[in-house]
């Protein structure tokens, strides 16, 4: 009985001594706030903040003298909590989502040549500037869908990329991966967009696409503050996005769409008609 207590006690004491000595010799400073922040972050390591992964971002927050970037997937909820941990005033990131500015699927837009190669938009773009006659349209080979860490992009059965407003966190990876720059960021609340990315003359656009913008200026005449025509392509002025839906019916080629009413043809997303608040979106 005594022997057991003494012997175990002795082993434990020796172990404690060794560990105590080692703890002093091999001490490493770790800021507990860094760990707390790492817990809060989404953990997708998407790099939207510009830092190497979520651990890189946490390190920056704790070691820098100010928070140099926001975490778009985390959104304002996470950013407020991080600010709280660091004892700073809350930071609000304006929620943005990515939108594919094109409706030119296989049925609506014509091809330049028959592409037999890698199913990757970047690779296809290198072959004589892409298989679509339209220089700016979506190639529909799914690179953005594969790159999205949140599964927010789908390819319609007729090869058009569509992004879900609900699932998109605004990390921007799809924007970087698109070789045609047809995906652009827009404010979450702006639901009306001119879904075209071609700067060609109207007559030429009509030759290769049924739903392209022909720069007829009707949208601008209808709602002067909400639309702007630049280089033969109309875009919504997002500061006045609430007025934009009025021109949707007037567009002769139907290239303006209001996502509150519906998503592009062939899309399976059904979350339209419901206003999406920041809190509704997936974290």
């Amino acid at each position: 009985m005594i022997a057991s207590i003494l012997s175990l006690g002795a082993i434990g004491f020796l172990a404690a001594l060794t560990l105590g000595f080692a703890a002093r010799k091999f001490a490493v400073e770790v800021d507990p706030r860094e760990l707390a922040i790492l817990e809060l972050l989404p953990g997708a390591n998407c790099g939207a903040c510009g830092y190497p992964g979520c651990s890189g971002y946490a390190k920056m927050v704790v070691n820098g003298d100010k928070i140099a970037a926001t975490c778009p997937p985390g959104g304002s909820a996470v950013m407020d909590k991080i600010a709280n941990i660091m004892g700073l005033a809350p930071i609000t990131a304006e929620p943005k989502v990515a939108v594919v500015m094109c409706q030119g699927d296989n049925l609506k837009a014509k091809d330049k040549y028959k592409y037999l190669g890698l199913t990757d938009c970047r690779a296809a773009q290198k072959v004589a500037d892409g298989p679509k006659q339209c220089p700016g349209g979506c190639l529909g080979l799914g690179t953005c869908e594969r790159v999205c860490p949140f599964g927010a992009i789908e390819m319609t059965p007729d090869n058009l990329a569509v992004i879900s407003r609900k699932k998109c966190t605004g990390c921007g990876k799809c924007v970087a991966s698109c070789p045609r720059a047809v995906i652009r960021m827009a404010p979450l609340d702006a639901t009306t967009h001119v879904l075209c990315n071609s700067h060609d003359k109207g007559a030429l656009v009509r030759k290769y696409c049924e739903v392209g913008c022909i720069a007829c200026q009707i949208c601008k005449k209808q709602v002067p503050g909400a639309y702007e025509i630049e280089n033969l392509l109309a875009t919504v002025v997002y500061e006045n996005h609430q007025d934009a839906p009025a021109a949707v019916e007037k567009c002769p080629t139907r290239c303006i769409r209001d996502f509150m009413v519906s998503y592009p043809d062939g899309s399976s997303f059904a979350e339209a008609t419901v206003p999406l608040k920041k809190e509704d979106r997936a974290a």
């Binding site: 022997a3 012997s7 175990l8 082993i11 434990g12 172990a15 060794t18 080692a22 091999f26 490493v28």
Partner: protein, 193 residues
């Protein structure tokens, strides 16, 4: 001499701790996604296993048996292993923060790794002398590291393939582990027992 060689070969190939005895599956599956991390883990385990065997051997034959408290074997051994793992953790955190990050939770889990405790207990069961015990520990550790590295290499290649959705991740890893284990059965009969 031949005896020692036999123990070594048996521990590495014939009765491989992971693939034949099925001990230490947790780090085997958890740390084997990249060959570099597998190697790092293997080295950590080698250190723990060897030192643990030495220390526990002494404790068994100079403390537990003389005082007739063999029933405290499990507790005493775990105490030793836990301290050793803590030590290794501290050293790795200081010397290679990158490895520390990539091993993550699996480093402290070496403590509860049945392979280490299993090794210490088997050592006593087989009534090995000190030298035999050390060789056995080295063999076990080398075998463990070997299995991990082989498996990590296989997993890196499997990741390049379009694995069916339902098999992705752990499922295909377990299937691969099973096949690797089958392969190692080819060594059976090399050494008797």
């Amino acid at each position: 001499m031949a005896e020692l060689l036999l123990i070594l070969v048996s521990a590495i190939f014939v009765n491989n701790f992971v693939l034949a005895r099925f001990l230490g599956i947790c780090p085997f599956l958890g740390v084997s996604k990249k060959v570099e991390t597998a190697l790092g883990m293997g080295m950590a385990v080698t250190f723990v296993m060897t030192v643990a065997t030495v220390v526990t051997w002494f404790i068994q034959y100079f403390v537990l048996i003389p005082f007739g408290i063999e029933y405290l074997q499990t507790i005493a051994f775990i105490l030793v292993i836990a301290s050793l793992v803590q030590l290794v953790e501290m050293v790795i955190q200081k010397t290679s923060p990158v490895l520390y990050q990539s091993l993550g939770i699996f480093l402290p889990l070496i403590t509860t790794n049945c392979a280490v405790l299993g090794l210490a207990v088997l050592n006593i069961q087989k009534e090995y002398s000190f030298l035999e015990g050390v060789i056995f520990a080295l063999g076990a550790a080398i075998g463990f590291t070997l299995a991990m590295i082989l498996f990590a290499g296989l997993r890196e290649r499997v990741d390049l393939c379009p694995v069916p959705k339902s098999f992705r991740g752990t499922a295909i890893a377990l299937v691969t582990a099973g096949l690797l284990s089958l392969a190692f059965m080819g060594f059976a009969g090399l050494v008797k027992g």
